[in-house]
Amino acid sequence: MTTPVLTLRDAELTLGGRTLWTGLDLDVAPGEFLAVLGANGSGKTSLLKAILGQHRLSAGEARLLGEPVRHGDRRIGYIPQQRRADDRVALRGRDLIALGIDGHRLGPGLPTAARRRRVDALLAEVGASHYARVPVAALSGGEQQRLRVGQSLAGDPRLLLCDEPLASLDLRAQRAVSELIDARRRARGLGVLFVTHDINPVLAHVDRVLYLAGGRFRVGTPDEVLRSAVLSELYSSPVDVIRANGRIIIVGAPDESHAHDHAHAHGPQSEA
């Protein structure tokens, strides 16, 4: 068996006196696409930050390729949520990718032929060559996310952490960006941890699901985890999983940002 890219053993994270999850065991294999699901406040983003070395685990361990995770590890690529780009910034498509190559280094970064070739190669890899010189602020959300995928690949990572990279994109861009991430992880053998509130855009690509709820979790294929019985037990309250037209809809999952407020225990219908 190949070494897992990421290993979590009996991991626990407590932030501000609240335990987000405990006893978390997880192995992510090279080339595996793992979706991280769960309500708001269940600790999905905090899981990514723990792997990035920004939060220290309160118990257990997290290992990247067998070594304890550390802050700023180049073998991890990170793709954040799309935000509106600022037009007060001098930044074109290719500059965003260049930051992924050497943005952490000191000095002004003089343009060399080698650097230009690397940027060009990454632009081509994510299909962004034709808007390489367009200001980032003038690009659509989907175009910006393509660049962010390119930026995250610049350090030749082994593990890709994606934090809601499809949020605020239209359906077509959601499909394009998730297909791009899927193609890249296959070509490069990347482990992917994909945090999302809606699994449907990535359902076709997902190997396994990590579902976080109420400090507990389930790991398995979508068919194993996304079932009414499993999620009801996980949430300790009735939850319905409905499958329709190849989509999965989860009804009745409590929102954990109001975990102690019983009035919200049966939140509105939400797509998992």
Binding site: L52, R88, L91, D95, P108
Partner: protein, 290 residues
């Protein structure tokens, strides 16, 4: 009317005056490079209002330095740095930063006015700190400004890439291990020094014309991370040196010349970018129709 004109523009004895004001012109060039360069980050980090706040505290420091005999340059640097560090530490989020700045600004201005009111010296010096005193640049002061200028430019060049990363994409920069908070503090110190230089040359009230307007103009005509800083420095230097040269024989302060040139450059850049955008839209519409 003629009277006004001769007060505004008087080019008699120009050669002799240029020699006399050599120091002022050099000081203007130093500030042009410093202000144009740092202005790029003032824009991308949304610090225009903070610059104004820092400059008022810098004015207070300079006035206190004048009153206590500690030196105007020294006082203005201390005031700048205190304000920059306070704003940097207390105002990590934009909303906090604006309110901290708004709290500090009138306090600094009031403090400065108090110090000037107590100062028994000539009245011309008093006004100078607020609206510019470029005619009074002697050799030691020019030397001090040049040293500070070199420090700011060198500091900016060293942290250029990680600061850019932190400014445009803090989340990813943190994930990549860039020390975003430390960089922000270092930048505020450099900004404090740059503002102190600006206060010496154009005065506390007009620092924005050098630290913000040129970079804002450059961003209108380019998005290249190389050309925007270059254009910004050129615009700032042209405004300052051009303003001083125009003002040489005039009997009014140089600041209105500097701010007017700076504003005109911005206007031209804005109009030209709007026209270019319009052309591209029309071309796009034609191609769409074809």
């Amino acid at each position: 009317m003629d009277d006004w004109w001769s007060q505004l523009f008087d080019f008699s004895d120009y050669g002799a005056l240029i020699v006399l004001l050599r120091n002022s012109i050099l000081a203007g060039a130093v500030l042009g490079v410093v202000g144009g360069l740092i202005g790029v980050f003032v824009m991308s980090r949304d610090l225009a209002f903070a610059v104004h706040g820092i400059s008022e505290l810098s004015f207070a420091g300079a006035a206190a330095g004048l009153l206590l005999g500690a030196g105007v340059v020294e006082g203005s640097i201390v005031g700048s740095l205190v304000a920059a560090v306070l704003i940097g530490l207390l105002g990590t989020r934009a909303r906090d930063r604006n309110s901290i700045t708004a709290v500090l600004m009138p306090f600094g201005l009031g403090l400065g006015i108090l110090c000037l009111a107590l100062y028994p010296g000539r009245a011309a010096n008093r006004f100078g700190l607020l609206t510019g005193q470029i005619v009074a640049v002697d050799d030691p002061r020019l030397g001090a400004l040049a040293v500070i200028g070199v420090m700011v430019v060198a500091g900016l060049l060293i942290i250029w890439r990680p600061l850019t990363f932190a400014s445009v994409d803090a989340e990813v920069a943190i994930a990549r291990g860039v020390p975003v908070r430390a960089l922000s503090l270092v930048f505020m110190l450099l900004l404090g020094l740059a503002v102190a230089v600006g206060v010496q040359v154009v005065g506390a009230l007009l620092v924005l014309a050098v630290l913000v307007t040129p970079a804002a103009a450059a961003l209108r005509v380019s998005s290249s991370p190389f050309w925007v800083p270059v254009l910004s420095m050129v615009f700032a230097t042209v405004s300052l040196v051009g303003g001083i040269l125009l003002a040489l024989g005039a009997s009014v302060p140089i600041s209105p010349y500097v701010t007017t040139i700076s504003f005109l450059i911005y206007l031209v850049c804005r109009v030209s970018s709007a026209r270019r955008a319009g052309r591209e839209r029309r071309r796009g519409a034609r191609m769409g129709a074809a």
